[in-house]
Symmetry: C2
Subunit: 543 residues, 2 copies
């Protein structure tokens, strides 16, 4: 039977772009069931037909292809097979083999074929990770082909999204061919565990949701002014005195390991942010003399400002601290912050003033900031890690390593900043339009969706330096009570913008798919909030 572009079957569901170059044909039947299919984010190339296969939990299985370089010893894939089997069939357990019975129209297996010699089962994902995959659904076997496990994970998610229940509640999947890859390599979510402590299960649930949306970076803004929940083995007093509570509101080394491994199993990098020299009030509780004493007139006021940049002890501390961080977090990058340094305390302090004069900085405190950051970057570079920084670090003219990722977060002059950063040859990610802590009445996801990250003026070479973006949910007003429904499905808009083709911009089409995708998240146990009026068929299962 001929293949038909899904565009013809259900115009609302897929944008024109995805059909370019594919065979077109007349629509024949089955529209109702096709409506249940709603891929998110939309794959790069997609071809589907009205031919449907049935999936039975008694006969269907996800298996390693014979040619695959991965096998049963690949724990990452074994776990993923189980996870997606459960997403598809819910609580239905696979019956004993003896009860297996296969009918003509059944799809009996999904073969996962990892093609490269090294499947990377035990690796960590990275910025260079190849996440592409090819998926072919046909009887009697579907085949998912990917260079390594990371692409396989993305393809498994897509496969699970293709399955829909027919009129009788039977799982179906249509004959389909997909060739898919991400538009941007860095697709992140920032969560803030300092303004409010986020229990481990909230973080893990959101990593689950990230995988459902093909996000691949968890930017963990782990500490800040308000609290220091990271339990350091080198400096245990940081959390003992800087966390909201030294036992109940901290991330132990074992917690951190669990987050990293849970993320790895889903192809998600964990990039911790230890923001200095500002945003460090909580550090001062457990580390004497780290922060600058502020002065009121000629005497210390008892309050403290940013990290004290004029003491060698500050740099000794950072050397030891980041040595630990570089071993605890396996990712090649650490986020070093560098944003929003308040100069008033430095200005008030006579020792700082003296140092400024000695260095010939005049009264330009951004030079002092850069002085600090420069030394910090060198310290971190010595641990063989790359670093990410907020845009101020670049703006202030600090000398950065070539592989530095500059994060553009300021909404005003965002395009100008992207131009400047990329003109200087640095890779950059965009978060300015995606501060999801800001809320407003109505469907604000549409604003996030309409952003085009490469709309700034610049050469092709400059555009290539934009490696992605991040949806940031700062923690002032969210904690375990409201974080997940506030983040999802609003962050899903960013997910599609960063994964799908540039031409995928039809908001009406996106709305229809996102309504279904949101219901799918709810069904899988993620309390994603509604886009608008309506209901999910299975909303009771997930809540």
């Amino acid at each position: 039977m001929a293949m038909y572009c899904l565009l013809k079957l259900a115009p609302l569901f897929l944008a024109v772009a995805v059909c370019n170059g594919w065979l077109f044909g007349d629509f024949v039947g089955k529209q109702k069931e096709q409506d249940e299919i709603s891929l998110w984010p939309l794959p790069q190339k997609f071809q589907s037909s009205a031919v449907a296969f049935k999936l039975s939990p008694a006969s269907f299985q996800i298996v390693h292809a014979k040619q695959s370089s991965a096998g049963p010893s690949c724990g990452l894939l074994e776990n993923a097979f189980r996870r997606y089997f459960e997403y598809i069939f819910g609580d239905l357990k696979k019956p004993e083999k003896s009860r297996k019975k296969v009918y003509d129209s059944d799809l009996v297996e999904l073969q996962v074929w990892v093609t490269s010699a090294d499947p990377k089962c035990d690796d960590f994902p990275s910025l260079q990770t190849d996440e592409s995959y090819e998926l072919s659904i046909d009887e009697p076997s579907a085949v998912l082909k990917a260079a390594n496990v990371w692409g396989a994970l993305r393809g498994l998610e897509t496969f699970s999204q293709l399955v829909y229940e027919d009129y009788y509640g039977v799982n179906n999947i249509n004959k389909t061919d997909i060739s898919d890859f991400p538009r941007f390599a860095h697709r992140g979510i920032l969560l803030d565990s300092s303004r409010h402590f986020l229990p481990l299960k909230v973080i893990l649930a959101n990593l689950e949701a990230m995988a459902m949306n093909k996000f691949n970076v968890f930017h963990w803004h782990i500490v800040d002014d308000q609290s220091f929940p990271y339990m350091s083995r080198t400096f245990p007093e940081l959390s003992q005195k800087g966390a909201y509570h030294p036992f109940t509101h901290v991330y132990t080394p074992s917690d951190v390991k669990m987050v990293i491994e849970f993320a790895r199993m889903r192809g998600i990098r964990v990039i911790p942010e230890f923001d200095t020299p500002g945003h460090t009030e909580s550090w001062g509780n457990g580390q004497l003399d780290l922060l600058t004493p502020c002065y009121s007139g000629s005497s210390p006021s008892g309050t403290f400002g940013p990290v004290n940049p004029i003491l060698n002890s500050s740099y000794d501390f950072m050397t030891q601290f980041f040595k630990e961080i570089s071993t605890v977090f396996p990712d090649a990058y650490i986020h070093l912050g560098g944003d929003e340094v308040d100069f008033r305390c430095w200005e008030s302090n006579p020792d700082i003033q003296k140092f400024m004069a000695q260095q010939g900085f005049g009264t330009d405190y951004s030079k002092l900031e850069s002085f600090y950051i420069q030394r910090l970057l060198d310290i971190v570079a010595a641990t063989k890690k790359g670093y990410m920084v907020w845009q101020e670090v670049f703006d202030n003219g600090v000398k950065l390593k070539d592989d530095t990722v500059v994060e553009v977060w300021m909404g005003n002059k965002m395009e100008e900043e992207l131009q400047n950063v990329t003109r200087a040859g640095f890779t950059t990610i965009l978060s300015a339009p995606w501060y999801l802590d800001y809320i407003s009445y109505g469907q604000d996801w549409q604003h996030y969706y309409k952003v085009e990250p490469l709309s700034f003026p610049g050469t092709d070479a400059q555009k290539k330096l934009v490696i992605g973006g991040e949806a940031c949910l700062w923690g002032e007003y969210v904690d375990a009570t409201n974080l997940t429904p506030r983040l999802w499905p609003r962050a899903s808009a960013v997910a599609e913008r960063l994964w799908s083709d540039k031409s995928v911009t039809d908001v009406g089409n996106a709305y229809n798919r996102l309504v279904q995708h949101r219901c799918r998240m709810v069904k899988r146990g993620i309390p994603a909030e509604p886009l608008f009026v309506g209901h999910c068929r299975q909303e009771y299962k997930g809540l």
Copy 2:
């Protein structure tokens, strides 16, 4: 020992007003533990001392006072005793009597003394309900005195809020005298179960939260354009064809009974709203010819508008329907809606045009609207129920029964409307400033808190006609995934405005108490969202 006004103990926690007329004294010690006390809403008269008593789950009990007209046969109070014992002691079960041991500083019981001859254990609360109570905490017994069970319920909540954990985690309560009563008689929450279906457990959880905030009216906007989840025994097709799903997304008669009884046990009235003639699209699915056929040119377009006001069958239907409603819902009031009638469909229909001409209405369709409403009101009046209406019904000059409650919801000219309604001698409630479905970044609870319902120009007699207000959470963007944290503690701001004295307006003071009150809700299992940065000591217990 002398009694001290808590104002002296912890200035941030209680406003000046509550101390008027009470004995003042010097503050002695115990500030730290006092900080744990944070009553919400603030009682009318409050006096506390630093003398603390301990409460042990092994010895403390809530009992009927000997003089009380209520006893063990009063199921409402027995349930409340158990509920508040569990709020105070959590999972700790009361040990066997033989293990009971009483120490000198223990508070051994709270005696609940219902003073009127009829305790009203089996009644429903009403607009006339006396919710006042007096609470005296002293050794060896505390006494809660109220005319009937409704005041006792409010006093039990206050008692439970007075208990705090000391340094050792032991429950303490300070010597205290409280005399309390609500400023307004109608303190409501509107939930909308039509835009999204709200599972029963969501409604019940929010009734729990309402009781914690001394709200006393659940305004159940049960049906609307989008769906008709109310299962009618007289017209079962209304929900069979008008609900999102005929089995899973409906409120059965048993569900409705449960909501009403659960609310009654907490002193909360349930006022259902069946909004007509607009907002009725879902009614048309199950009731043929009820809605007006809209015309496109000279022929019906296939779409439908408001209830058809020119057919006798419409009034026959309403007569039967509201006869059922008046028996299902025990409250003396039914909300009949009457808002936002779109005239375009009526204008398009030639039969309606003809009727307009016959009646001499010209082209003033608000006259037709009033024609309909007038007949509807007479139908409902015949069931011996009172009615509430949205402000348009009054604005359009419909003749209303004297006891009608007009709900002012339009934000523009709100004060003018209050003036007009009360000048005409009608009781009114205010919801215009409290549409909690509108969200914005930051602490919007402060805006709700700062509203003064009686700030409009008018005589004392007019002001007395303002019997309260309602916080409305319309359902376009909320369902089971996000409703509860979006409503609480934002609605708590409205709760205090409607209960406490007019002079209680200090936002800083309110912030400090509300932070604690919000943590108390979380501890009791209500996922109320955070006001700002910080943490709850016991946030893990509730989540």
